[in-house]
Structure formats: structure tokens, C-alpha cells
């Protein structure tokens, strides 16, 4: 008996030790390779610096091309870079935990400058301003949008609290099922631009006239989905002239967003239209309960005939669609607004998140230098095309690219250059395809209108009562669209908002925009 018990105890203890031991083995690998990097990038010999970068990437393990890139950066900047990549399903938790416990990397990625934990971290001094380190960072300065900097001045002290992870600002057009258009004898003009009325007509036909010819009423004009916060918003805002914060046509405030304007019907009109299309089954009835990832699935499986999307995805979409239905063909189309203009709201502030330097950074200047190097011509070339020997070979002075590398988790997602839309074109792509896609991407970049608020969040919008109130907007918007509420109810909520917060909000916003516009 005793023996048995003893064995049980020992067994458990052994396992425990094994568990701990195995854990230890997986500890941080020391990168201590003091290889002298002679005269890299003409820098005077700066001492080697260790730094940790915490970011969200598709994989927590670096791929081969990622490792080679990081190595090239380390050599060029005389640094040893370690990545802390939490699982993407828990990035928010880990970020919050790091900020709270002081267990911080040198530089940390945040999804957005209005992220609540970022603002708190700035306020409490965990994230430091980087203005003084940016003085020599010409590449970061040159390849970021001006509005990105405005968006990163979050503390009311005119200081910048992050390095932009730039994204190319675009306003994308729509993917149409070309084979459906052909079947219904609909012509698209050569310049790929149609009017909003034509768009509505096509969507209605897609949903009512059996474009897939299976005799069933099972197709819908437009595919859409709920926002990440599960709310639904009116569709076709670009076409209806909703471009965020713009100069108003008069009234109490100089700058206004129709969404917040008690005197404008633009936003309620958009709500009404979406509700109407939803009721008539022109837009996918499943939309409100789908998450964004499913929209593509519905389109490829032939349930919806139009989705919005990026022009550069042509090959991927076409191949996936053809697997399901060999007749699947694609057309890329822009829709003009009601005034017939080619305009579209440029999403965001050119930021696809940003890198914030923390108070634990041992040498903030060197952190900024690393990002600056990545945007230099040399660094950018490695990011865009990869590393010689792995991603391409040089034959007869020509680069020959290896097959499409998908595993560019870190390589292609650290930094971007503003307006450099060629980034989205695989360097190995054929000239023929390039000529087909590039004009569309260019159009999407050229047609942008920017909202003047630069994602600024007035102070009042950071207070708990305001944050709690926000829910009412998504609630009423959703209800109107699905037909459970009259569009007038939006104005009622807006009125309520206006009394409680609106006046302060609008004033703060106007002051901010005024100040920025005058600075120009």
C-alpha cells in the first residue's frame, strides 16, 4: 500500500519536474552574436543595442524570410532584435497585461490611436513621446502621411506618441460577378465607372432575375457583414456623399459630420436606403449576423453578386471562385456618387496601427533608427522583394523571384510607405496582369477624400458615460436597418446625445479641426 502511494507521489513529482524543466528549455533564446558589423550604412560605430518588439502578426513564429530580413536589419543597425508575438486571439489581453505589470517590450504595437489602453498608457507615462528621436528619421518622415502624425498627437501636448505603421490610403471599388453581368446582358463602360442608379439596378437584377440560372431565388445583389463590434452600418456611404467631417454648408458649426448633424438628413437617408435594400432582399439577408470573414465566402460560393474589395486580389479571388464554379468571372467597378463624381472616403488616417516606444526602452533613439532603416531604400527593398538567395536570385543582372511567398508574417507587416501602392503587387507578377490591376489600384488611391477629424477623439468621448452611451447608436442603427425601428428614431438618439454630450463634443471637434487646418 505504502509503496503504491509512494509511487503515486513520486510519479506526480517527476511529472511536475518534467513539466517545469520543459518549460525552462523553451525560454528566451539568447541572441548574443557580437559580430562586428563594419561600417554598416556608413554609421559611426554605435554600441550594439538589444531590443524587443511586441507586435501582432499572423504567426508567432518567424518564417524563414522573416528571419533573414530581421538579420539584415540587425546587421545594418547594429542591434539584436527579439520579437514577442502573442497569439493573435489574445493580443489585447497581453497588451493590457504588459502595460499594467510593467513587463514591457521596448516598442509595442497598438491597433489604433484611440485604443483606450493606449490613451491610458500615454496619460500614465508608460508610452513616451518620440519627437526628439524623429529629428534624424528622414525616412519615417518622408514615407508617412501628415495626417498620421496628427492622429498620433494624442495627449494635447502636441507631441507624437508613436511611429506610424502606414497603410496606403485607398477607397476601394467593387468586385462584380462578370459572368452574371454577361448573362443578364449588362454592359460595364470601358473605364469601369458606373453611376449609383446603375449600381442599384444591377444589384436588384442580381437578386431578382436569377443570374446563376438555377431556377431558384437564392442570389443577392450585395454582400456585407456586421462590424467587428457586431453593429451594422449603412452601406454605400461613399455613393451617398457621406465623407465624415467636412466643412458644413452653414449652421452652428463650421465643420460637421452628417452622422452627428441634427439638421441634415444625409445619414438618415443612408439608413433608410440600407433598410429598404435589406427588406427587398437586394443585400444579403444574412449580413447582420455574419462576421467580415464570411463575406468573401458568400461571394465566392455564388450567393452574392457584388462585394467591395481591393483590386489587387484579382488572382486569388478568381482562382478560388473558379474552383467552385468554372464560369466564375470577375469585373472591378467603381461607382460614382450621386453628383457623378469619382470620390471615396479614405479610410482612417493612413495608420494600420502604430509602434509606440515604451518607458522601458533602453535606447529610444535606436528603436526609431531601426524603423527608419526599414523605410530607407535599402531596407524597403528587402521588405518588398525579400532577401537575395531566398526570395530571389540574380541572373543576368535580372532578379528572378521564387514562387509567391505567403509566409511574410513580419516582413511585409512591419512598415509601409505612404502612397506606395505597388507594394500590393507581387514583384513576380506578370506584366500583363500588372497592367490590368494597377490602374484600378491607382484609381482607388487617387479618388480619396479625407475626413477632416483625423480620427481625433474629443476628451468628452473618452469619459465612461460617453463610452456607455455609444451603445445606443449601434443599437438604433442596427434596428433601423433591419426594420425594427423607424429612421426617425435615429434623430431621437442623436437629440439625446446632443443634450448630454453633443455640444461639447462638436465644439471640441471643431476647435481641433480649425487648429489643424489653420496650421497648414
Amino acid at each position: 500500500m505504502k509503496l503504491k502511494k509512494a509511487i503515486a507521489c513520486v510519479g506526480a513529482a517527476v511529472l511536475l519536474v518534467a513539466v517545469t524543466a520543459c518549460g525552462d528549455k523553451g525560454g528566451p533564446a539568447e541572441i548574443d552574436d557580437p559580430k562586428p558589423t563594419s561600417g554598416a550604412a556608413g554609421e559611426t560605430a554605435k554600441p550594439k543595442v538589444n531590443m524587443t518588439i511586441m507586435g501582432e502578426f499572423a504567426s508567432s513564429n518567424l518564417s524563414e524570410t522573416d528571419k533573414l530580413l530581421v538579420q539584415s536589419i540587425e546587421e545594418a543597425t547594429n542591434t539584436a532584435i527579439k520579437f514577442d508575438i502573442p497569439p493573435s486571439t489574445g493580443y489585447t489581453e497581453r497588451l493590457q497585461l504588459s502595460l499594467t505589470t510593467g513587463d514591457l517590450a521596448d516598442v509595442v504595437w497598438f491597433p489604433s490611436p484611440d485604443d483606450a489602453s493606449f490613451l491610458k498608457a500615454v496619460k500614465d507615462g508608460v508610452i513616451i513621446p518620440i519627437d526628439e528621436y524623429l529629428n534624424e528619421a528622414d525616412n519615417i518622415q518622408n514615407y508617412s502621411y501628415d495626417i498620421s502624425w496628427d492622429a498620433l498627437r494624442v495627449n494635447g501636448d502636441d507631441k507624437v506618441y508613436g511611429i506610424p505603421r502606414t497603410t496606403v490610403i485607398r477607397s476601394d471599388g467593387y468586385w462584380f460577378r462578370k459572368d452574371w453581368l454577361d448573362k443578364l446582358n449588362i454592359q460595364i463602360p470601358d473605364n469601369n465607372e458606373i453611376t449609383f442608379d446603375q449600381m442599384l439596378d444591377i444589384m436588384t437584377k442580381f437578386s431578382k432575375e436569377d443570374p446563376d440560372g438555377n431556377g431558384k431565388h437564392d442570389t443577392y445583389g450585395y454582400g456585407w457583414a456586421a462590424q467587428p463590434d457586431k453593429s451594422i452600418r449603412p452601406v454605400f456611404q461613399n455613393e451617398l456623399g457621406l465623407y465624415g467631417w467636412q466643412e458644413s454648408d452653414g449652421g452652428e458649426y463650421k465643420y460637421m459630420n452628417p452622422q452627428y448633424d441634427l439638421n441634415s438628413d444625409k445619414y438618415t437617408k443612408a439608413l433608410e436606403l440600407t433598410a429598404k435594400l435589406f427588406k427587398e432582399g437586394v443585400i444579403d439577408p444574412d449580413g447582420p449576423t455574419l462576421d467580415g470573414g464570411k463575406v468573401l465566402e458568400q461571394f465566392q460560393s455564388g450567393k452574392t453578386g457584388v462585394i467591395d474589395g481591393f483590386a489587387g486580389h484579382y488572382e486569388t479571388f478568381l482562382n478560388a471562385g473558379k474552383q467552385i464554379n468554372p464560369e466564375f468571372e470577375l469585373a472591378y467597378v467603381f461607382v460614382k456618387n450621386e453628383q457623378g463624381e469619382m470620390k471615396g472616403l479614405g479610410q482612417g488616417t493612413g495608420l494600420w496601427g502604430f509602434w509606440a516606444v515604451t518607458s522601458s526602452a533602453s535606447d529610444p533613439q535606436r528603436v526609431v533608427d531601426v524603423f527608419d532603416y526599414m523605410l530607407s531604400d535599402e531596407g524597403w527593398d528587402s521588405i518588398y522583394t525579400g532577401i537575395e538567395g531566398h526570395d530571389y536570385k540574380v541572373e543576368n543582372n535580372q532578379r528572378v523571384y521564387s514562387a509567391t511567398p505567403l509566409e511574410t508574417f513580419v516582413r511585409k507587416n512591419m512598415v509601409r510607405r505612404a502612397n506606395d501602392f505597388m507594394f500590393f503587387i507581387n514583384p513576380a507578377m506578370s506584366e500583363e496582369l500588372k497592367q490590368k490591376l494597377v490602374p484600378n489600384i491607382e484609381k482607388a488611391v487617387k479618388r480619396i477624400v479625407m475626413s477632416k477629424d483625423r480620427n481625433y477623439t474629443p476628451a468628452i468621448a473618452k469619459t465612461p458615460p460617453y463610452l456607455d452611451f455609444n451603445k445606443k447608436f449601434s443599437e438604433v442603427t442596427t434596428k433601423i436597418i433591419i426594420g425594427d425601428a423607424q429612421s426617425s428614431e435615429y434623430k431621437e438618439v442623436l437629440q439625446d446625445w446632443n443634450t448630454k454630450f453633443g455640444q461639447t463634443y462638436l465644439k471640441e471637434m471643431n476647435d481641433y479641426i480649425d487648429q489643424i487646418e489653420n496650421k497648414k
Binding site: 444579403d284 449576423t289 443599437e475
Partner: protein, 305 residues
């Protein structure tokens, strides 16, 4: 006198030394891993500052609680949590007991084993997948529920967008997922019944229902009561994932519960101290409920302690 009392305690301890010694590791564990971190509760009373941390942040007393009780959402969330919890207990609690008793009545050992294995399968499929199936099933365009409705001449219904269906969908999905898993503890209790009881009852001419009522149920009664008491203690714990995956702004007014609320304010808005206050409120309610439930159970001669 005192001395005598002390020595009698000492004598008692010595007599039961093994019993007390055996308790040491368990309570040491509880102390280190459960009680030590409890000091963190104090952030509910702080204006939590990232640099100053738990030990240095400024005290704000009951400010977080005042805000909670004053906010418009609080009573809606409390009501939703209570209503959903009530339905969970009403339907979700007895279901596995009934099923366990049914399984206990199966005579074929092979079928019984097969049934048990199948029944607990859905527990292993994550909520993401189960919710995905539910959403597909109820889809107004392609779900079979709506196809049936249309075949019978009705109009498709957006079930997940209608507040009146939300609780039914939620509770059904929960029962679907956890019913079989819930039977396990009752099956374990049922195995301890001495078969001679059933034999004697058969000789006395009892039918099957009578045997269930007079033998099976009473013998698992203490298990049922204990699980019920513990369930009542978690009256404000609804479960996050299933609600988060099935709700949307159209159903907020019936679906928003403490878990979804703290997710939004805590994780998305970063109000850590406030989240802690909400958690503390839930814990206190749970404590009160569990003490009450135990009192009531004691009236029937059963209790946790």
C-alpha cells in the same frame, strides 16, 4: 479551566492528527494560489494608475460602485443576467438529471455505453463552431428552419435579430452543448445505488416510475441539491462566449449581461478598476445567494456545510 480546554483541544487534534495533516497541502495551495492574489480586489476602490500600480494608486472609495449603480445599463444588465440565469436553472438544470435517469433505465449495456459516449460529444466542440452551426441553421436565406417556414407558406424570420427569440435560442444551444456532459456527475451518483433496493421494490410490485421516484431520485438528491446550491451562487455568471457569439445590437436589450458588459468596458475600453468593481459586486451577490440557498437546503436536512 482554560488550561483544561486547551488540552482537550490538543487531545482532539492529536487523536485526529492524520485528518488535519492531510488538509495541509490543499489549504496551502488555496492560500497561495487563491487567497494571495485576492489582494488585487482593492483596485476596485482605486483610480488605478499604470505606473503607480496596485500598491500606489489613489483611493477613490466607492466611486466605481456609485458609477455602476447609477448607470443606465446597470439595471438592464442585472435584469438580463437574472432572467437568463433563471431560464438556465429552469430548463438547463433539470435536463441532465432527467437524461441521467433515462440512461439509468437502459438495460442493454452496449446501448448504454454507446449513448453515453455520443451524448457528451457536443461538449468538445467549441462555442465558435456550435454558434456557427446555429447561425447557419437559422439563416433567413439558407437555414433549414426558415426553409421549413417558407415551405409551409410563411415568411422567413431573422431569428437572431429578434429579441423575443434570443433567450430560447441561447438556452437551447446551451442545452444542446452541455446536456450530455451534465449527466456525468449524476451517473456517477446513480452507480452507488445498491441493486438490491430495486430488486426488493420489484418484489413489492413497484413499477418503473415508482422505482425512479422512490429509489433513483432520492439517492442522487444530495448531489442534485449541492449542485443546485453552487449554481445559485453563480447566479450572475452566464457564460461569455455563447452570448458574445450569438448577440448583436438588435438583441442587446435582452442579451447584454455582466460578461459582455465587462468585456466591453474592461478589455475594449481598458477600465480595469471599474471591471474589478463589477466583479466584486457579482461575487458579493453570489456569496449572499449561496448562503441563502444553503439555509434553505438546511431546512430540508441537506447543506454544504
Amino acid at each position: 479551566m482554560n488550561n483544561g480546554k486547551a488540552s482537550s483541544v490538543w487531545l482532539y487534534m492529536r487523536k485526529n492528527k492524520w485528518l488535519y495533516l492531510l488538509l495541509i497541502p490543499g489549504f496551502l495551495y488555496l492560500f497561495i494560489f487563491k487567497y494571495v492574489p485576492m489582494f488585487g480586489i482593492i483596485i476596485a476602490f482605486q483610480d488605478f494608475n499604470l505606473i503607480k500600480g496596485i500598491t500606489g494608486s489613489d483611493w477613490i472609495g466607492f466611486e466605481n460602485f456609485r458609477y455602476l449603480f447609477q448607470s443606465d445599463d446597470f439595471f438592464m444588465i442585472l435584469r438580463n443576467s437574472l432572467v437568463i440565469s433563471f431560464y438556465q436553472v429552469l430548463f438547463g438544470f433539470p435536463a441532465p438529471i432527467l437524461l441521467a435517469i433515462l440512461l439509468n433505465e437502459i438495460r442493454s449495456l452496449l446501448f448504454k455505453k454507446f449513448a453515453q459516449t455520443v451524448l457528451y460529444l457536443p461538449h468538445f466542440i467549441s462555442w465558435v463552431v456550435i454558434a456557427g452551426i446555429v447561425i447557419n441553421m437559422l439563416s433567413p436565406s439558407s437555414g433549414w428552419v426558415n426553409r421549413l417556414i417558407v415551405d409551409f407558406g410563411g415568411e422567413p424570420i431573422h431569428f437572431l435579430l429578434k429579441p423575443e427569440y434570443f433567450r430560447t435560442i441561447l438556452i437551447s444551444a446551451e442545452i444542446w452543448k452541455e446536456l450530455g456532459w451534465g449527466t456525468i456527475i449524476y451517473l456517477a451518483a446513480l452507480t452507488t445505488i445498491d441493486p438490491s433496493f430495486y430488486e426488493a421494490a420489484t418484489i413489492d410490485g413497484a413499477n418503473r416510475l415508482q422505482k425512479i421516484w422512490y429509489i433513483s431520485l432520492p439517492s442522487i438528491a444530495s448531489t442534485i441539491i449541492i449542485i443546485l446550491i453552487l449554481r445559485v451562487g453563480s447566479i450572475l455568471d452566464i457564460g461569455f462566449e455563447q452570448i458574445f457569439l450569438l448577440y448583436n445590437p438588435a438583441t442587446y436589450k435582452v442579451a447584454d449581461v455582466f460578461e459582455t458588459y465587462t468585456y466591453r468596458v474592461g478589455l475594449l475600453e481598458g477600465r480595469l478598476a471599474f471591471t474589478a468593481a463589477v466583479g466584486l459586486f457579482k461575487s458579493v451577490v453570489g456569496l449572499i445567494m449561496i448562503v441563502l440557498a444553503n439555509r434553505i437546503a438546511r431546512l430540508f436536512g441537506k447543506s454544504l456545510w
